[in-house]
């Protein structure tokens, strides 16, 4: 299945990527998707520790099982306003 990963702010800068499409096995969780991403972009590892995650634009915990077509966002600590 395919899941779109989106990077923002410092994570986007560190990865040098704003968006990519992951090919994942059925049953993959947010955690397994993140592990795959870290392998490809080790530069984001330390900043990821403080990141939150959203699937389809809602904050989620990392146990969530992903579905084909999901949008997974890597959310560094926010600083709007």
């Amino acid at each position: 299945m395919q899941v779109t990963a989106r990077f923002f702010a410092i994570l986007k800068d560190r990865a040098g990527v704003a968006e990519l499409i992951l090919e994942l096995p059925a049953g993959a969780t947010v955690t397994s998707a993140i592990e795959l991403i870290v392998k490809q972009f080790p530069a984001i590892q330390s900043d990821l520790k403080r990141a939150a995650f959203a699937v389809n634009r809602n904050y989620t915990n990392t146990d969530l099982v992903l579905s084909d077509g999901d949008e997974l966002a890597l959310i560094p600590p926010v600083s709007g306003g």
Partner: protein, 154 residues
């Protein structure tokens, strides 16, 4: 019908439009908050020249609408406007404008304060400091970076 005006914009925020959009004969008071880029000087003498804002727009808009709904549960609100900039916001310019109209003024003040406080907590928007020497750094609260702009220091 709730016709709150909730937008993320790449162009100058019009507080004039925000106030007009919440003006209503049912309201006795309107409170408006503008968060503006404050001038700063770093310890090494660099000057802050702007804040660059980035948003996860679809998520941030959903969050702002949900936040407006939470405020409506707490206060008897007539109308809400929440406008947030993306892109470069120079010193003295607004990055966020929130306007709330209510029958009585105490509610307008409280609801407006709630909306800006909550907006800063979890809406998917980020700011980057841009300095006079060309350097730039993301502001991520709690990461020990020098906090700048309205949001970080309170």
């Amino acid at each position: 019908m709730i016709d709150d005006r909730i937008e993320i914009l790449a162009t100058d925020l019009s507080w004039d439009e925000a106030v007009k959009s919440v003006s209503d004969g049912r309201a006795g008071g309107i409170d408006v908050f503008l968060g503006t880029t404050r001038a700063e000087k770093a310890a090494d003498g660099r000057d802050l020249i702007a804040l660059d804002y980035e948003a996860y727009e679809q998520m941030a808009l959903d969050q702002m609408k949900a936040l407006a709904a939470r405020a409506r549960e707490k206060w008897p609100i007539v109308k809400i406007a929440m406008l947030h900039r993306v892109g470069r916001v120079l010193i003295g310019e607004p990055s966020v404008v929130i306007a709330v109209s209510t029958p009585h003024r105490a509610d307008a003040f409280e609801a407006c304060r709630f909306l800006i406080d909550e907006l800063k907590k979890d809406i998917a928007i980020w700011k980057k400091e841009v300095w006079s020497d060309g350097s730039a750094s993301w502001v991520h609260p709690g990461q020990g970076q020098g906090a700048r702009g309205e949001g970080q220091e309170e």
